[in-house]
């Protein structure tokens, strides 16, 4: 019955539809228009920030490409949500810790598969250094009332053999007409490292591929377990407005790391230290006439304290100066000083829509870790019974000075929208005990030089 009625009304409906259709079309345009406005409103609440960094070290060592994307949404009650995604790829070769030698050197690759040969006088590099990393961070900041604000964040990053997960929380109190703010924060991270081919046992001798029983001897240098470490941090910060043109920040913090802190890919050379012996200053050898290299060993905890002071100053012509100093001290014996200085020079007086040049100078200096040794004396090695518990030849734990020189150009083509490009040169020099005997002719501290290019776009 109903069907019949439908058939009967079909013609009538058709003509009715023809009459309605223009009205529907107009209405739909209205709805679409409203959707577009909504979408535009939503987009207006977001700020996007993107950048890509190209990093290249001299002598074909490490090079990296790192694109980063960040999106921030502002909410009605003053809350903000930030999402940050980063991806990086590393390739190239990195120093494996052993010293150069007057003879060629053969190293078993960290995975136990294959070997690499280093020519005489060359810096031993681990050429299997290749990795990609993806990292995601979320951050939420919200006011509690006019004087208090809190912030929480989650973080995770994954590489082929490394996983890091963490979270942080902080609370901020504004006072003195919001000219001062005090901030308390805590952070916790848990990292897991699973080196390919197992983790080397601390101070074990590297097995040589040429050994008849290589498989067994290599296996004896390894433990199968994955290794973890935790990082706990705390910080107290004070932000202070000094006058209309100056603001300062003071932070004091600590960080406590415990667990597996050793670098599973780093070695140490054992060098003949008996002056009366013919191998004085040469690689100390085992009964098979193979050079002896030890896997490094670091303590399983590190406590670090930091102090940070930053000042931002707007010059009367509107240019901006950003300077900071950081001091760090840890119980591995490393003290460091970092000075950073930037001057933003605007081409005109309109600060929201202008081009600028920003020279950058950074100076970094650190003292060596107590257990840092460029090489091990055979006297200390005592034929496999070393008289020390920790040792590392990682140049990052040595006495070091580093300088960064950079120049950035930024073009603000609209308020809050900017394109920029930055070129920087980074140079590290290391120092430590000198070589003995024939080792004194080798370059033990070649230093590191790198160029960094970053391109950024904010919209």
């Amino acid at each position: 019955m109903q069907l019949n009625t439908e058939v009967r009304d079909k013609t009538k409906d058709k003509s009715r539809f023809q009459k309605i259709s223009p009205a529907l079309a107009i209405a739909s345009i209205g709805i679409l228009g409203a959707n577009e406005t909504l979408a535009k409103d939503e987009l207006d609440r977001w700020d996007f920030d993107t950048a890509v960094l190209l990093y290249a070290e001299a002598d074909d060592r490490v090079s990296a490409v790192e694109p980063v994307f960040s999106a921030t949404r502002a909410f009605d009650n003053g809350e903000t949500l930030n999402i940050k995604l980063a991806y990086d790829t590393l390739t190239g070769a990195s120093p494996n810790g052993a010293t150069p030698s007057k003879q060629k050197q053969i190293f078993t690759r960290p995975s136990g598969k294959g070997k690499s040969t280093i020519a005489s006088g060359e810096s031993p590099l681990d050429d299997t250094f290749k990795d990609s990393r993806v990292a995601l961070a979320l951050n939420w900041t919200a006011p509690i009332n006019r004087e208090w604000e809190y912030s929480t964040g989650l973080y995770g990053s994954k590489e082929f053999d490394y996983l890091s997960l963490g979270g942080n929380a902080s609370i901020k109190h504004y006072f003195n007409q919001k000219n001062s703010a005090i901030n308390f924060g805590i952070s916790f991270s848990s990292d897991q490292v699973e080196p390919k081919g197992g983790t080397p046992i601390a101070l074990a001798e590297m097995a040589h591929k040429s050994d008849d029983d290589f498989k067994d001897t290599h296996k004896k240098t390894r433990e199968d377990d994955s290794n973890s470490k935790t990082i706990q941090e705390g910080m107290i910060g004070l932000t202070q407005v000094i006058n209309r043109q100056t603001i300062m920040q003071f932070n004091a913090g600590f960080s406590y790391t415990s667990g597996y802190l050793t670098d599973p890919f780093k070695l140490l050379s054992v060098i003949g230290s008996d002056k009366s012996d013919s191998d004085y200053g040469a690689n100390f050898q085992d009964t098979n006439s193979n050079n002896i290299y030890l896997y490094e060993a670091r303590p399983d905890s590190k406590l670090r304290h930091s102090f940070y002071w930053q000042t931002k100053y707007s010059v009367s012509n509107g240019d901006m100066i950003d300077s900071s100093y950081r001091f760090m001290i840890d119980d591995w014996g490393i003290n460091s000083h970092t000075l950073d200085f930037r001057y933003r020079w605007y081409f005109t007086l309109n600060k929201e829509r202008d081009s600028y040049l920003e020279p950058h100078l950074r100076y970094y200096s650190q003292s060596a870790a107590d257990f840092y040794q460029r090489y091990i004396d055979s006297d200390d090695y005592q034929l496999g019974d070393p008289n020390f518990s920790f040792a590392s030849a990682d140049e990052r734990l040595s006495d070091m000075n580093a300088v960064t020189l950079g120049l950035k150009y930024g073009w603000r083509y609209q308020e809050g929208k900017e394109v920029n490009i930055k070129l920087e040169y980074y140079s590290q020099s290391h120092s430590g005990k000198k070589g003995i005997g024939s080792l004194s002719n080798q370059e033990l501290y070649p230093g590191t030089k790198a160029v960094m290019l970053a391109i950024g776009y904010s919209f």
Partner: protein
């Protein structure tokens, strides 16, 4: 112990000294500028931190140094 008391006194005097500096709310136009924020280029700061974290023994200070990576 004496050292601790001295430290606390220093911090308290430091914070109370802060109440004498500062500006009125309507004088904050310059400090409100984007480039006058403490971290005015957060993405760039993050990239720099990552490089220095992987090449030097110190990290963090300005903020948390956070979790590691295989690069250090």
């Amino acid at each position: 112990m004496h050292q601790k008391i001295l430290q606390i006194m220093l911090i308290v005097s430091f914070i109370s000294a802060c109440s004498n500096v500062g500006v009125k709310p309507w004088e904050k136009n310059i400090l409100a500028r984007d480039d006058m924020q403490l971290i005015h280029a957060p993405l760039e700061a993050g990239l720099d931190d990552h490089i220095y974290f992987s090449k030097e023994a110190s990290s963090g200070g300005r903020g948390f140094s956070g979790g590691g990576c295989g690069c250090n």
